[in-house]
Amino acid sequence: MRSPALAIAWEFRRRHRWGLIAVAGYLLVVATIRFLILEPGEPVLVDSVRFAAVVSVPLTTTFVYLLAVFSFGFAGDLAARHSMYPARMFTLPVTNAALVGWPMLYGTAAMAILWLAARLFAVWPSGIEIPLIWPALLAAALLAWTQALTWMPYGLPGIRLIVAVLCLAALDTVVLLAIHFKAREPMMLAILAPQLPLAYLVARFAVARARRGDVPDWRGLSARSGEIADALPRPRDHLSSPGRAQVWFEWRRHGRLLPALVGLVLPFELALLWLAKDAPAFVFEILFLVLITPPFMAAFTAWTVSKPHPNASDSYGVPPFIATRPLTSAELIAAKLQMAMWSALAAWLLVLVAIPLALEWSGTWSVVKDRAQRMNDAVGTPRAVALVLLILAGFIVSTWKQLVQSLHIGLTGREWLIKGSVLLTLTFLILLGPVVEWIIDSPSVQRALWNALPLILAGLVALKMSAAAWIATRLDRSRLLGDRALFVGAACWCVAVLALYAVLVWFFSTPFVAHYLLALIAILAVPLVRLSAAPLALAWNRHR
């Protein structure tokens, strides 16, 4: 190897050879189907399910995989503040341009090859004009922006994910709008082509910054409140128990991030109310956006909560400082759950204070009052109040759930499991849209699904309860939880399910919805399996 370009290419090839061989194998299979099994020139009638199975799903998965490969996503930490570009490469005697340019070039080439090969080899439905270049350019642009945004150092943990998702979604939206307005290929190229040099410049700036160790530290914003707190007399009281001390630790370590992020975003969202004075419908859309902000943000901050040690070299293992705390793994998890509860409540306190103030100051309070009055007239005061409280409680619980539901994965400390689950989630999210669209477009599928709904729900409940029983047995055998704790936990879960069931029965008092369906929904809605698996995951990591 005589050049940095070859060395970087070799590293990609050597490290991901099995994945790249699998991609090549897939393309070979579709080419075989196309050229050896199907007759040349024969019109191809491909239904959407087969097309999704053979082309859409593997292609999407491959795209996500290549995205992770060429942005160094398998080796980096998405939630961390520092750049995801491997720091070991910063000491190589090469320019920033080379460090950025070669991975970007290889990624762009890989995306282009993937699209061109898929277009050439895959079986596409007849009668559809398949574009030649712009999808390859879109894939390359998405990769380039992913590289730029993931290699950028950020001031707060978790910000990278939010920025990346928002920017990539914005680019996607522009392209979808262009498709909607039937833009032709030259127009698509005009939109997408400038993205590559632009992303390259941003990536170069990001790598240059990371290379000189210039990582902004916005934790100072929360530290500022810490400085104010310093000026005040510091608490001298002792933390009365190990559990309380651990909750304090978790709160200081992770708990303030969610309220801080929600507090950053809220003013911008609520400022839209001033634009919505003359459009009442828009007011409710803004309020909905505000209400989904805490659970949305929680889904991202959950990454940091479920990581035992974001700053350690082995960032997946439990650091000795925590591992040697004289606490059981179940107590360590309990502290995390409690911290998540306080974090969710703090975020919601901000939202609940900010919304009335913004409505009042923007002059849109009357719109909401009017709608509330109409709902009151339609369903009666008790139901209206119950509905509002239920929705609010649902949002708060959902925020908490988002924070804690990935603990059982993140705390295992197994990189393959964590990254595999991320890949699966991303693939699932990408596929969700087409699947939903397919269901909406197919009345027969809707009917089948509706008829099979009790069976599907019952199957899911059986699965959930079997998993819960297995986990309870493991918890008991490994002595992570005593009999009493297991019994109390099970009793609390039953009470929560019964309470939710009672509310659902009261609310949906209609003969069209069977009560057993509501019971199944209540059982599925109250978290059990993933939460109870968290102590097992931590113990697996803590005592390797």
Binding site: H309, A312, P320, P326, S329, R479
Partner: protein, 250 residues
């Protein structure tokens, strides 16, 4: 014969194809100062991690105070003071917060002793851990390892890369701990002259196997060449070979 604080029996641990520990057996009597010496990668930290319950015994058994540290971490860890080479104290904490936090876990925490140590180590209570020098961080770690007067003090390469003054503090801590009757110290180091100064029992570990484990006086006596008593360094080289011998630290 005094009871064993640590009892390791036929412990074997593999990481992939590498055998980190091969049928290691060890019994540490109460009140002993055990020096665990060996080259980098010999298996010292792996053995210590088993004693702390951070690694699960794949085969063989580990008992600390007669308990399994994996099955009963609270009962074991609340009686151990531990200072690791990594010294991974949370950087965001202030020194007084670290003391306040750590105190909650140990019923035997001695506030007066903690304050005495803080002053002796010249630690500013308002200083953030991440702003402390490496030596100061080691002192902070030592403070929380000692302030609850642990029955077993485990020091894993504590003075690695530290200046002589901090090393002196660490050795002083070992001496202070053994001054209290019945307290036991497990001290892993590749600085053999330090081990020689404080340990009364030395265990040499090489490629996952214990090559020598005996009271220091016995080791010296059995390796005596005429009138000359060789140093621990020389004895180590004689047992594991010059290539495996740890390089002295500047």
């Amino acid at each position: 014969m005094s009871e064993s604080v640590v009892h390791v029996s036929e412990l074997t641990r593999r990481f992939g194809a590498t055998t980190a520990l091969a049928s290691v057996s060890l019994a540490m009597p109460r009140g002993a100062v055990y020096g665990l010496v060996g080259a980098n990668g010999a298996g010292k930290t792996t053995l210590i991690k088993h004693i702390l319950g951070l690694l699960r015994a794949e085969s063989g058994s580990v008992r600390v105070f007669g308990l399994d540290p994996v099955a009963d971490p609270v009962a074991v860890l609340s009686r151990i003071g531990y200072l690791s080479e990594e010294n991974d104290l949370p950087g965001w904490m202030r020194v007084d917060e670290l003391m306040r936090y750590s105190r909650a876990f140990y019923p035997a925490w001695d506030d007066g002793y903690a304050e005495e140590l803080r002053q002796a180590f010249a630690l500013d209570p308002a200083a953030k851990i991440r702003n402390l020098s490496r030596g100061q961080r080691a002192r902070a770690g030592l403070l929380i390892a000692l302030a609850h007067r642990p029955e077993l003090l485990v020091l894993d390469e504590p003075s690695s890369g530290l200046d002589p003054i901090v090393r002196r503090d660490i050795l002083g801590a070992v001496i202070r701990t053994i001054a209290h009757e019945g307290r036991t110290v497990l001290f892993s180091s590749h600085l053999l002259e330090e081990v020689e100064r404080v340990a009364d029992h030395v265990t040499m570990i090489h490629q996952g196997k214990i090559v020598l484990s005996a009271p220091l006086d016995d080791i010296r006596e059995s390796n005596r060449v005429g009138e000359r008593v060789p140093s621990l360094d020389e004895i180590f080289v004689a047992h594991v070979g010059r290539d495996a011998a740890p390089a002295p630290e500047a």
